[in-house]
């Protein structure tokens, strides 16, 4: 760490403060700004992996109202840049590999590190926010395989918690959120947020929490969608879902009338 030795993989956790006045002193470790540690290590690393929402995009410490100039390693929310700058590439020629999530799934980091260790780092495909598409598929949202998806398709949309059906009207962001939570599940493949009755709050999406909050308000009612690019990210998913609901709802009404 004296600058002499190359680093294999640098894993960064936590948002990186730039303030006050560009000094980075809002976060110091061992008497030095955390920012300097990140910059020094990144300069020597073959691969840099940012782990968790804070290290990737800045997360809550970089959310609206923040006074600390916190940011991610190579992004500030949805904008490329961050502490290392938009043009940064590690020794292996890749930008910072972003594994977002608050928290991130342990499989996402372990399997990414495994790919690097197995010499497959060059095969890691990244989306426009530098997330591995293996875990954060651009054409797929959590909604597609949500355990409660069937209720959505037949229009059983809960308006109160603990009713047991689709959580869309309670603010669920799964239709906008790109991750494999619903097939991978959490804690030894045991459960996930929507299965436990909680709306997805989009904690893997760039710009979280501002881009996906208020958490408990239906997305269409959210006044400003800071950072969520519905056109490019979730257009297909929402469109398909809306058609699905319409068709199913019409069918149900029709059946009732019969």
């Amino acid at each position: 760490m004296t600058g002499e030795k190359p680093l294999g993989v640098l894993v960064i956790e936590g948002a990186i403060a730039d303030g006050p006045e560009g000094s980075g002193k809002y976060t110091t470790v061992g008497g030095k700004p955390f920012k300097e540690m990140v910059q020094r290590c990144a300069a020597k690393a073959s691969y840099v992996v940012a782990f968790g929402m804070c290290a990737t995009y800045g997360g809550i410490p970089a959310a609206r109202g923040s006074v600390t100039d916190n940011m991610g390693a190579q992004f500030l929310q949805t904008t490329k840049g961050g502490i290392l700058g938009a043009g940064y590439t590690s020794g292996a020629g890749l930008p910072v590999v972003n594994i977002p999530g608050c928290p991130a799934h342990p499989d996402w980091i372990m399997l990414t590190l495994a790919a690097i260790i197995l010499g497959k780092g060059g095969l890691i495909e990244l989306d426009e926010y530098n997330r591995p598409t293996a875990f954060f598929p651009p054409d797929y949202t959590i909604h597609e395989n949500c355990p409660r998806r069937g209720f959505y398709d037949i229009g059983q949309l809960d308006t109160e918690f603990t009713e047991g059906h689709c959580l869309w009207k309670l603010g669920c962001k799964a239709p906008y959120t790109h991750a494999d939570c619903a097939t991978r599940l959490w804690n030894n493949h045991l459960n996930m947020c929507t299965q436990a009755g909680s709306p997805c709050i989009g904690c893997v999406q760039p710009g979280f929490p501002d881009s996906t909050s208020p958490f408990y308000v239906e997305m269409e009612k959210v006044p400003t969608l800071v950072g969520v690019d519905i056109n490019t990210i979730a257009k297909a998913a929402i469109g398909a879902a809306a058609i699905g609901v319409g068709a199913h709802a019409a069918r149900r009404i029709g059946m009732k009338e019969e």
Binding site: P20, Y26, G59, G65, T162, A196, G197, S198
Partner: protein, 602 residues
């Protein structure tokens, strides 16, 4: 005089720096600095108050559940719903918090604290005084992964290795109700989002059984003692001896158990459980004076306070709802399973009132709002680079504010909870220490209180899961945003590592106007206040021996003291006994020689 700096000794939310002035091996002055500021208070302003319970639990990944519960308590109060929360929603919240507290205590004891007992210094010391068999047990049980002594690799300890899968199992148990862990999702203003089934109850019970098998065999050793090997009655049997009796009887029963163990065989099979080893060899008074052992690690002589009610108190906000519909958000005495209370430094109890909490910023990097109650609290950071420095104790030196209860610095955490609850074993031990001119609070009582609380919670958890939780019950009562218009609320709770309070004020649009969390590590690790009173960890460091040799062998002098500042176990033991977070690498600097050492601690 030398100055020893440990930076970072990380804590829950970030990074901790401990600075100690040392004369003749004894710490004579100490300063505690939090070295990170994120400003959650500013970020929460203007948001939908319901989002606070999701955002604040992300303050900390170690006890996120505590923040989530505290926040929903503040929201229940602000929405005017606290008295209507369904009983079964409260049972689920209890279960989720309890699982997190047990997991956190187990992590602290086995993964963060006990491995300091495999510090190489204790090898030298214990071998010198002919206690090599005790050292063999310590290193054989508590050594962490990647440990080496005198250049030789040491395999991970048996207890350390066995504890890690139990932590994972407890996280999974939380996910049964919470969706995932860390950052469970089920607690919400009005109740919980999950609807537990009988199958979920069975699943949690199966996790309970496997964790209590670990407690039975490794922690308490009740199987080797012939008391019970049944995981389901492990907590009951231990508490029958140490909790459901008078405090004198509780201490006497523990001394009986320890006194009956062989002194030529320290193995687990002989009855020397992890708790027995720590209880006997961790204390000068218990081990040497009362049990007649040849030596001890003397954890009862470090991390204590002067018996002076103007300098220190013990505070608990109370935790775990009574099993009924609704609750009182002000947490009056006796309502919660573990009661609220304030106990003075000379052990006199009084009822808790949250209006007595204020925060000082004289030595904290904030520019305004000294000695304010959190409902009117301010968190305005300094904005100039030059102001942020950690080497001038006369100026500001920490990002932590200095919370005070009636202007008194307070220790929070398991020891404070057990003292306020008048728990028989911990109170009995504390009074025994006081009567023998020791500080009632010290590293030893702090660790035993954490272990004892774990068993007390384990017994209650079994009741909540198997008796109180009705899977056909009601789990939510309607909460509408309009209920939070021009309102305020207080959330009072206990995270595993101590009293946790959230104070919220909302505006006419039902948005957050002010939100102030006061967290346990702020209580325990805070800097000095306007009146110059030291924070608890600062006070606990002063008077402690800095190194292992000076502490254990102070009268023998068989090992030179010259290396004490390079391996300041006193700072590690005391600092970590308050349960701050993971310390990966610790750098120590002896300012006399300006020599820098890097030590691998984990």
């Amino acid at each position: 005089m030398a100055t020893v700096v440990v930076d970072p000794l990380t804590r829950i939310e970030g990074h901790l720096r401990l600075t100690a002035e040392v004369s003749d091996g004894v710490i004579t002055n100490a300063h505690s600095s939090g070295t990170m500021y994120r400003g959650f208070e500013q970020i929460l302003k203007g948001r939908d108050p319901r989002d606070a319970s999701r955002i604040t639990q992300r303050i900390c990944g170690v006890c996120p559940t505590g923040h989530a519960m505290t926040s929903v308590n503040a929201l229940d109060d602000a929405f005017g719903l606290a008295e209507y929360i369904p009983k079964d929603a409260l049972v689920v919240r209890n279960i989720v918090q309890c699982l997190n507290t047990i997991a956190s205590h187990a992590t602290h004891i086995y993964v963060l604290w006990l491995l300091d007992l495999a510090n190489p210094a204790y090898k030298t010391i214990l071998e010198t005084i002919n206690l090599k068999p005790v050292w063999d047990e310590l290193v054989g049980r508590f050594a962490p992964i990647s440990h080496s002594i005198e250049g030789k690799a040491v395999p991970p300890g048996s207890s350390y290795l066995a504890a890690i899968p139990e932590k994972k199992a407890l996280q999974e148990a939380i996910a049964v109700f919470g969706g995932k862990m860390p950052i469970q999702m089920t607690s919400i203003v009005g109740g919980v989002t999950c609807t537990p089934t009988v199958a979920d109850i069975g699943r949690i019970a199966s996790y309970y059984v496997r964790v209590m098998e670990f407690v039975n065999h490794y922690v308490l050793g009740l199987d080797a003692l012939g008391i019970t090997s049944d995981p389901l009655e492990t907590a009951d049997k231990w508490l029958e001896l140490t909790h459901d009796v008078s405090k004198d009887k509780a201490v006497a029963n523990v001394l009986d158990i320890l006194g009956g163990l062989p002194t030529d065989d320290f193995s687990r099979a002989a009855g020397w459980s992890d708790v027995a080893l720590l209880a006997a060899f961790g204390s000068e008074l218990i081990g040497e004076t009362l049990l007649g052992l040849p030596a001890s690690l003397k954890f009862d002589t470090i991390g204590g306070y002067p018996v002076d009610p103007t300098k220190i108190g013990f505070l608990s906000y109370g935790v775990f709802y009574a099993i009924k519909e609704g609750y009182d958000p002000t947490s009056p005495k006796g309502e919660r399973f573990i009661t609220s209370g304030f106990t003075s430094g000379d052990l006199k109890y009084e009822e808790f009132n949250h209006h007595n909490v204020t925060e000082h910023v004289a030595h904290s990097f904030y520019t305004s709002g000294n000695d304010l109650h959190p409902w009117g609290g301010e968190t305005e950071p300094v904005k100039t680079t030059a102001t942020i420095k950690y080497d001038d104790p006369a100026a500001k030196y920490s990002w932590l504010k200095a919370p005070r209860y009636k202007q008194i610095p307070c220790e929070v955490g398991p020891l404070a909870r057990m003292i306020n609850a008048k728990e028989p074993l911990v109170t009995g031990l504390a009074e025994t220490f006081l009567a023998n001119c020791y500080s009632p609070a010290n590293v030893y009582t702090r660790m035993l209180a954490r272990a004892q609380e774990t068993i007390i919670l384990a017994r209650e958890l079994k009741k909540w899961v198997l008796v109180d939780l009705d899977s056909n019950g009601k789990f939510y009562t309607h909460a509408d945003l309009s209920m939070a218009k021009n309102s305020q609320g207080v959330g009072l709770w206990e995270a595993p590592r101590g009293a946790l309070g959230h104070w919220i004020v909302t505006d006419g649009a039902s948005k957050i106007a002010n939100y102030q969390p006061v967290v346990p590590s702020t209580w325990n690790l805070c800097p000095r206040d306007t009146n110059g009173k030291l924070g608890p960890v600062e006070l606990a460091l002063v008077g402690s021996k800095v190194g292992p040799v000076g502490n254990v062998l102070s009268t023998l002098g068989a090992i030179p003291l010259s290396k004490e500042n390079e391996n300041p176990t006193g700072i590690f033991h005391v600092g970590r006994s308050f349960d701050p977070c993971i310390a990966c690498a610790v750098h120590t600097i002896d300012m006399n020689t300006n020599k820098k050492y890097e030590l691998r601690i984990l």
